[in-house]
């Protein structure tokens, strides 16, 4: 499956236009809105990823200041749980830390829910260990696979690299309901099973506590949790296979050199909801402000051209000339 999501591929074509409008966009001051949003009213219901949730909350907070009569709510049921509600037509906006999967595409199609996909920010999954660890500086994707695979997974550091001590590795990771888990497993293990004997938690702060209190720990979570806890955690550089160890920083995450654990974050919008002015204005505001607000909540802005293609796609959707991304994937499941 593509790491960039279905919509981004579909919209790949218009880079020239993208750059010109990116310049226009960046010249306009942020949080300034030409149209008066205060007459808007209604309700915007969103659910989904707890990773993307804070970004959508930040957008809702700023949007609410301009449109005080619009009632926005953000739930954090997880990417999977959120898609269940989204595809049942219960929510207007779905936050997702991974692209929609085939089952969810089919579920949405069965219920007649058409949707648009927008990439809104970047997050770098950070592999962390205890700061006391002296030998662990860099792991390759193959080594990560050796550690996390379900069958014959490494029990001690020596199983990963013979030069390392024969101490048992204690693993920590997000629970199975999170998009972070899905993304990590798919990227590192592909279709293989993940081992079961790791300590899972839906609360990343619990993982931070676990890794920082355990000398032989290894865990992973979103970059924001590493950034806030740098004094008690040590980030492990990742070697994508070319021999270069890259540490996750905002720069390396955004320019793509921190690979393959940089992941795009998405927002899905129900096509029918975009016909309501409050949802349309909310999404326009979201796509205009996401790059600024992303860093406020610990993420990295996507490249400018991503927002430009997002906005073009959005404007044609609102104008009624766009094709929902759901229609584009119908019948052609992702390769």
């Amino acid at each position: 499956m593509s790491k960039r999501g279905v919509g981004s591929i579909i919209r790949g074509g218009c880079v020239g236009l993208a750059i010109t409008s990116a310049v226009l966009l960046s010249s306009s001051p942020t949080l300034a809105q030409e149209t008066d949003l205060s007459p808007l009213s209604g309700e915007i219901v969103s659910d989904g990823s707890s990773t993307v949730g804070p970004l959508t909350q930040a957008v809702a907070e700023e949007f609410n200041a301009l449109a005080p009569n619009v009632q926005s709510s953000v739930d954090i049921s997880g990417t999977g749980g959120g898609f269940e509600r989204f595809c049942a037509g219960e929510t207007d906006v779905q936050n997702a830390s991974r692209p929609i999967d085939e089952e969810e595409i089919a579920l949405c199609a069965d219920n007649g829910v058409d949707w648009y996909e927008f990439e809104v920010a970047y997050d770098g999954l950070t592999v962390v260990t205890n700061p006391e660890s002296t030998f662990l500086e860099c792991l390759s994707i193959d080594q990560l696979r050796t550690i996390w695979q379900g069958e014959g997974g490494a029990q001690t550091w020596a199983d990963v690299n013979p030069e390392w001590p024969a101490e048992t590795i204690n693993l920590y990771g997000p629970g199975t309901d999170s998009g972070t888990f899905d993304y990590f497993v798919e990227t590192i293990l592909g279709d293989d099973e993940i081992r079961q004997d790791f300590t899972p938690s839906e609360d990343d702060n619990v993982l931070v506590e676990g890794v920082s209190g355990d000398a032989n720990s290894l865990g992973y979570f979103g970059a924001a949790y590493y950034q806030e806890n740098q004094d008690i955690l040590k980030a492990v550089a990742i070697d994508a296979g070319d021999g270069n160890c890259v540490v996750p920083t905002p720069e390396s995450i955004q320019d793509g050199t921190y690979a393959p654990l940089s992941r795009p974050l998405f927002v899905y919008v129900k096509a029918a909801s975009l016909e309501r002015p409050e949802v349309a204005e909310f999404m326009r505001f979201y796509l205009n402000e996401a790059s600024t607000l992303a860093s406020d909540v610990g993420y990295v802005a996507s490249p400018a051209e991503v927002y430009t293609t997002d906005l073009e796609n959005f404007e044609s959707a609102v104008a009624g000339t766009g094709t929902p991304d759901s229609a584009a994937v119908a019948g052609t499941p992702e390769a």
Binding site: V45, P54, Q57, E61, S73, D203, E228
Partner: protein, 304 residues
């Protein structure tokens, strides 16, 4: 107490004969036991004190009027819990409106009206069992019945109905016990004067049992106010920008807001969560104080 002839003489005689030589040993034993019991009590209190100290030291600097009047924000210094506080008050108020009449009514029926037979006993046993059911099960029930079947959606009324179901068994059991403690002679006297069953219940049994019933209500409110699991299932939002506007409004509650802040990566938000816990505890104590005040007033009224 009932058989002084059996135990009285032995109890009086035995220690005297055996004890005169062993009095020091028994006193030591008593002192040790007292010590152990004291440690048990001290441990419980110490844990509670540590918890309160931990929360207070982290959260007290974040307590401010803004915390009560602002909505949540991505900036910790601007974040407040007004929608959550109002949501909790709405939810608890509605829960009380749904649960108290039904709960007290059920208790009065079971104690005053229901025939004493196998079915009534089965019913009472099952109500006791219901009080022990994990709260998330009530959440799933609420999701199936109120949110989906009755199509009430993820609204404040669905949440309150679910919470009402959750606390009903506690109210029924406590009210039943309070009603059972009313002396039968009181009922008999009223019946003898020709009062109907309803008149007896309304004018004598319920007023006399009221302090006990209120105790049950205090306990059930305390349980409801801190519950998160069922509300997570029936759809309290993690973040809302607005105050609850009515029965069909979407909402959030204090425990949800605390959960949402505590899981943020920034330390400031975790301290903010501690401040929110202080607010929740204060609200809980305030509601309990009101209930205790009412209980005192009702107990004074009872005089026979």
């Amino acid at each position: 107490m009932s058989s002084p002839t059996m135990f009285g003489p032995r109890a009086a005689v035995l220690p005297r004969t055996a004890g005169s030589s062993n009095v020091n040993g028994r006193k030591t034993k008593a002192a040790i036991i007292q010590g152990i019991l004291f440690v048990a009590t001290a441990f419980a209190i110490l844990v509670l004190a540590a918890l309160i100290w931990d929360i207070t030291s982290a959260g007290v600097t974040w307590l401010s009027l803004d915390l009560l009047t602002n909505t949540s924000s991505r900036r910790a210094e601007n974040a407040g819990l007004r929608p959550a506080l109002l949501g909790t008050l709405w939810l608890i108020g509605l829960t009380a409106v749904f649960a108290f009449p039904v709960g007290i009514g059920a208790a009065v029926y079971l104690e005053e009206y229901a025939p004493v037979n196998r079915w009534t006993r089965l019913l009472k046993t099952n109500i006791s069992n219901l009080a022990g059911v994990p709260s998330v099960v009530y959440g799933l029930l609420g999701l199936g019945v109120f949110v989906s079947l009755f199509a009430a959606g993820r609204t404040i009324v669905s949440g309150a109905l679910t919470m009402a179901l959750l606390i009903l068994p506690v109210i029924i059991i406590a009210s039943q016990e309070a009603i059972r403690a009313v002396p039968p002679s009181l009922r008999q006297a009223a019946f003898a004067l020709g009062a109907t069953r309803w008149q007896v219940a309304r004018d004598h049994v319920i007023p006399t049992a009221m302090p006990g019933i209120l105790t049950g209500i205090i306990l059930s409110i305390s349980r409801a106010i801190g519950e998160t699991a069922p509300l997570l299932v029936v759809g309290a939002a993690a973040y809302v920008t607005f105050n609850p506007t009515g029965l069909t409004s979407r909402y959030t509650v204090l425990p949800m807001q605390i959960y949402e802040w505590a899981r943020r990566p920034q330390q400031d938000f975790q301290d903010l969560a501690a401040a929110a816990i202080i607010v929740l505890l204060a609200l809980l104590l305030m509601l309990n104080a009101i209930a205790i005040y009412l209980r005192q007033r009702f107990s004074k009224r009872v005089n026979w």
